[in-house]
């Protein structure tokens, strides 16, 4: 039996498109119930503070995160990146200090590994957002991309579960494999404004 993959959505539904990750994870869980997932997944409770992922990750070998990105691409653009392979953080991760008030996903993972926790394989599926201001509901292009993002997430979950470090990935048409992106989507979405 293939291993269970922990799937977590991150974001704040009161920040318009920032809530996209939560919806993607929920949609993926629905598809799994309908037998459309290549691997068994466990949907983690919605995450506001990424550090709380530590408890959701407990005992998991592989995990996937769905999160909104802000990189300057067209709204609804999907992306994929490794956060960790074989327990090693990937270079795309920020090494900067955490926030004064909480942790990003990268920080949470690095803390988890530092105390011997956290999945060995961790990937993130990004969905490019447009509006991150306070308010409810996704913008139209982002909402339209949620089903495809959920399918991509399940595909990634299957791959992450059966990962070997030399494996080549084939994500299928229309998906960007950004295994060596120039920027971490987590970071890029915030950086735009200040660059």
């Amino acid at each position: 039996m293939p291993p269970l993959v922990v799937v977590a959505g991150i974001g704040n539904p009161m920040r318009h498109d920032d809530g996209a990750g939560l919806l993607v994870a929920e949609r993926a869980a629905e598809l799994e119930v309908q037998g459309q997932a290549p691997v068994a997944i466990a949907l983690a409770p919605p995450v506001g503070d990424p550090l709380d992922l530590l408890w959701s990750w407990d005992g998991a070998e592989a995990a996937v995160i769905a999160d909104a990105t802000r990189s300057g691409s067209a709204p609804g653009t999907l992306s994929f990146a490794w956060i960790a392979r074989d327990g090693e953080c990937q270079a795309v991760l920020s090494t900067k200090a955490p926030t004064s008030h909480g942790f990003g996903v990268a920080g949470a993972y690095r803390v988890a590994r530092a105390v011997g926790r956290g999945p060995r394989q961790l990937a993130v599926v990004g969905i490019e957002g447009l509006d991150f201001s306070q308010g409810e509901g996704l913008t139209a292009p982002v909402a339209a991309a949620v089903p495809a993002a959920a399918r991509l997430l399940l595909h990634v979950a299957g791959r992450v579960a059966n990962h070997t470090s030399t494996e080549r990935w084939h994500l299928g048409q229309g998906f960007h494999d950004v295994r060596a992106p120039r920027t971490d989507p987590m970071e890029a979405r915030g950086r735009k404004k200040y660059r």
Binding site: N12, P13, M14, R15, D18, P45, P46, V47, G48, D49, P50, L51, D52, L54, W55, S94, T95, K96, A97, P98, T99, S100, H101, G102, F103, G104, G107, R110, V111, A114, V115, G116, F132, S133, Q134, G135, E136, E187, R189, G190, R191, K193, Y194
Partner: protein, 454 residues
Amino acid sequence: MTHSRDYAFGVDALARVEGEGGFRVVVRDGAVSEVALDIFEPPRFFEALLVGRSYREAPDITARICGICPVAYQMSSCAAMESALDIVPSRQVVDLRRLLYCGEWLQSHALHVYLLHAPDFFGYEDAVQLAAHDKPVVERGLALKKTGNKIMGTVGGRAVHPVNVRVGGFYKAPSPFEISALAEPLRRALDASLATVEWVAGFDFPDVTGDYLFVALRDEGRYPIEGGRVVSSGGLDCTPAEFADAVVEEHVARSTALHARLFGQKPYLTGPLARYALNAGALTPLAAEAARRAQLEVPCRNPFRSIVVRAVEMVFACEEALRLVESYEPPEPPAADMPDPEGNGAGATPGAERAGAERAGAERAGAGVTEAPRGVLLHEYNVGPDGLIRHARIVPPTSQNQLTIEADLRRVAEAGLELPPEELTKRAEVAVRNHDPCISCAAHFLDLTLERAP
């Protein structure tokens, strides 16, 4: 290292979301000419969103404002609504709220003490470096945070954005069995928090004294959490409604933030230092003993030593939570009945399904103040006769502390003008972190920019 006499430095609080900034200090002719902290976005959207919604929705909507302290928003919201609608929650409801709030204090303080603040005292970049040097310590911090989350999960329904809180009480009272399961983790957390006080008391603290006007709640001899009168080190002693009138917020041109002043004049500080200064005598026995052993003076005016106060408050939260767990009686009913505003007898609407306000003729106003982990959180509402919210005002601790944090920043910058800008930037960032400001949930201190003025 040489540097020009004119320069500016700052930290961009890189945000997941729009609306946040960072801090910026401008040095001209060798003197600090401008200090600006722009890290906080007032919850104006939520205030606007609440208008026209039922009073019942306020706790759940406002809980979404902060991912770190949702309980605080729920509790202040309930307190304000209950004041507006003359609802008096039962003692059992108040105790259960206090237990839930202890969980939030514990998880929030554990996060700040261990993972955000402590690395500053070792010169580490972050908690990852701290873990590399002292893994058991970080594990202890994570275990404390987990215990806080467990309380929030048990009482609040879930740890993230608890769903079990309503005006008047709770939707469902946890069973005595569920509550008693918290005792063992809390006993371990009590030991861990006592060890925390001992650990942080041994840190090296810069010798800094802030001239703070402290504002906190005071609650009939108990250390304040979910209610009480608002008091200050300057002699203020008033009800939440009077406090709401006293707090004047002003817009500042350079930022989106609101700056709060008492009666429009005095900047003040709320949060652990203020709570401790005004309520040290009300600490539980082990917390008081831990403060004494840590040689924590009353009042403590060194902002760096706020980490010791937070640790002492973790001991208090564990002790208090244990007491509440051991004496737990499920509230029956889990929420107060809504009173009849026309005086036709209390509890005339069983199950609290209809608000008294629905039949009242006039608009009702109420203010509620509770102690969020980072200080007093004020909610103020007007509710119409139809039970719909007409006006909402939310004043979080960070907007109240903003001017005082800026004053700290200025002090640090002036004392460190001879330092290389990189070193000064680090010190300034720590000065901000001392007060654990809320940066509208999930903003990041990632990019450091150093500009020299042209």
